[in-house]
Symmetry: C2
Subunit: 423 residues, 2 copies
């Protein structure tokens, strides 16, 4: 009996990069689907703090969690097992890490590798998918897409984006109502800074409130900042409406490539850590037009805002996790399940599959025809694309006025190997 | 018939100062209750942009709005008729304005004055309540409390506060889950800046998430900032938990009284316009402890966040508007309906009445025994006070993924008087 049990292989699941309001919904999809196939999949081991948990053999036994606890992940934001910003180097450059990963996987009988992340993580997952051939260890690596930035190629959209888009649209709408109320004697311009280092998808969501008659000017990373044109646009909007709302992407930049605001520090991937474009833009408007302003920087609040998650997004996140396991069971390797849009109205979608080789390190920017000619708004085409992604509400349960979010036990799998020194 | 109709007096209603997620719920309470007493109250005229609308005779005929439109105010944030920051000077200093107000009220047969605002507005309302005696025009002035700052005296809490407190607690909880996920290799400290120029009530709401085991350090305006002690506290929390969340009030200040961040500009009441304490605090931590940080400034998003309003708060806002009209019909003048807390658990409250003379220009700060001994947290007593105020959800309806918020027709009442030059 023990011998037969041992033959059933285990799965590894890890969360990578910036977390989202729905990455745990994907985790829920992976784990629930694996549990539904107990005949073929042993246990899902989660990496504590992402791939680092695999390197350090800090594995979490998700089998110790109740069905209710796993179900609760569907409505819990953030990364339940911990995430990390850690990019594996190439096999040539750092063979030591890959050998360690295989050592850990072999020790824990892991045959499936599910990696839940964005573009950098897709690259890591792709490298893992090549190990089977390169190092003779049989491993199937499936990438589960996740990024608020919505910048992965091939898939129509990325889990995490719909919810952050909904947060931005709802927040911008509410703040715009506020400014409109105050504009007679006080604030006339409200500036909201949102995420999106290179791609303006999140900022574009601010454009959805134009349908409410709200005057909005958007600053996209895809459009080089032109101060004169921008000030003229704000001036026109305030003259016409009495107020206006500006949505500025953290990645908005000057012609020479410098960001409107840069804090100087860099993250583990070497990307500049941004923040603070909103006060820069607000003061620019004040100096040019004299308008009283208010500004907000949403930062983590936007990507963590499970309380206002998009129902569409939650479902897609879950279904992509589920499909990743189904693909694995069919023998797939080096792939990523994707969202394929069938129609805009009514919104219909299905799940497709992309080769990871086509996904890794490719960034999808806003097409030029999604941005209005003057560069400060979204087009009808963009509106049609975005609208269904924020559709539907998927409220968490509340207790004592606060959402009931899950904190798992995260029971450690006993280590079998010697320690590994992280570099 | 026409003569008898004219004898039915009208009411004036205006929104004043910073708007909130539920000030329109109070407007709804005022207007629906007035409509329920059509035998005694003619029309509710709203001031366009607050008291300025009364001075300029820009009155809005709320009688032109459907019952459904008025009902929709209950779930619409911001000020539906426009607000303003405009403080009436004393009768001695600016008799001209008071004479104009009486001229407008007389022209439109207004006998009731409902003013929906905070401390500065209570002062204005009190002045109006004295006009009857001072200038021989019969007017009953009732104040409807409103302020996210929760700093009015006598009333146990202020409409607008419960919802902003819920927003802050939910947002801080979600962002804390996010930081906890990222802390192994990336962000260890998240700093959230919230409103509260002089009183720390809003910042205190961040302390509610300690019940979730989240490590939080709060910077109150009531406690003079001590950098050494603060850094030591953050250091301890990060060492114990691996991460921490800081909630900083915009009003947090140094021993010499200067704010942690001040933008230099001042609003119409002469108050310094604040913003930007979060990046200051975040960089302070980075310099002292080296931790990677993220920061957010919630600004208008917090006070406009009707999508996550407290059900308790919405109900209290409505009921205070309703009671204001009932008090007026009983002949009251120079009063403000208040919330009286009967018990914490289960939470029970009723509506009381305060004399405006006791309310105007008095600010209620956090009692010292609501703040933990070290100055960076809330006490159990404070938790008991705050918890019921954020209880319950009161979701707006949604269409196409966005809340259905009301924009009224705001039909102008025909002017009867010559223009009035605002100074």
């Amino acid at each position: 009996m023990a011998a037969r049990k041992a033959r059933k292989k285990n799965a590894f699941y890890a969360q990578s990069g910036g977390v989202t309001a729905v990455i745990n919904a994907s985790a829920c999809g992976v784990i629930e689907t694996a549990r539904a196939h107990r005949d073929r999949i042993g246990t899902v081991y989660a990496g504590r703090n992402g791939i680092i948990g695999a390197l350090t053999e800090e594995l979490i036994d998700t089998g110790k969690e109740s069905a209710a606890a796993i179900r609760a992940l569907r409505s819990t934001p953030s990364g339940a097992f911990g995430s990390c910003r850690y990019k594996l180097k190439s096999l040539d450059t750092n063979r030591r890490e890959y050998e360690r990963l295989i050592e850990v996987f072999r020790a824990h009988d892991i045959a499936w590798f599910f990696y839940n992340g964005g573009g950098d993580s897709a690259d890591t997952c792709f490298k893992m998918s090549q190990l089977s051939e390169a190092m003779g260890y049989p491993l199937q690596a499936i990438h589960v897409p996740k990024t608020v930035d919505n910048d992965l190629p091939i898939t129509d959209c990325c889990p995490g984006f719909g919810s952050v888009a909904k947060y931005v649209a709802v927040s911008a709408l509410e703040a715009s109502f506020d400014v409109r109320s105050m504009a007679r004697t006080s604030t006339k311009v409200f500036v909201l800074e949102v995420m999106g280092r290179h791609a303006g998808w999140i900022a574009a969501a601010g454009g959805l409130i134009e349908a409410y008659g709200i005057p909005v000017a958007i600053l996209f990373p895809e459009i080089e900042f032109d101060e004169k044109k921008f000030i003229a646009r704000v001036d026109t909007l305030v003259k016409e409406h009495g107020y206006c709302t500006v949505v500025v992407s953290e990645g908005a930049h000057h012609v020479d490539g410098t960001f409107l605001a840069e804090q100087g520090s860099r993250d583990a991937f070497g990307h500049a850590q941004l923040g603070g474009a909103a006060p820069v833009v607000a003061n620019m408007i004040k100096n040019a037009l004299g308008h009283k302003f208010h500004w907000a920087v949403a930062d983590y609040l936007q990507r963590a805002a499970r309380h206002i998650a998009s129902k569409t997004d939650v479902k897609q996140a879950y279904d992509l996790g589920r499909r990743a396991v189904e693909l694995a069971l069919k023998g797939a390797n080096a792939v990523m399940p994707t969202i394929e849009r069938v129609s805009d109205v009514p919104y219909r979608w299905r799940i497709g599959v992309a080769d990871l080789a086509d996904v890794a390190n490719v960034e999808k920017f806003m097409p030029r025809d999604f941005i209005s000619e003057d560069g400060f708004g979204i087009t009808e085409k963009c509106h049609r694309y975005l609208a269904p992604l924020i559709a539907g509400e998927d409220y968490p349960a509340y207790r004592n006025g606060l959402p009931v979010y899950a904190t798992l036990k995260n029971v450690a799998v006993p280590k079998k190997l010697a320690d590994f020194a992280m570099k």
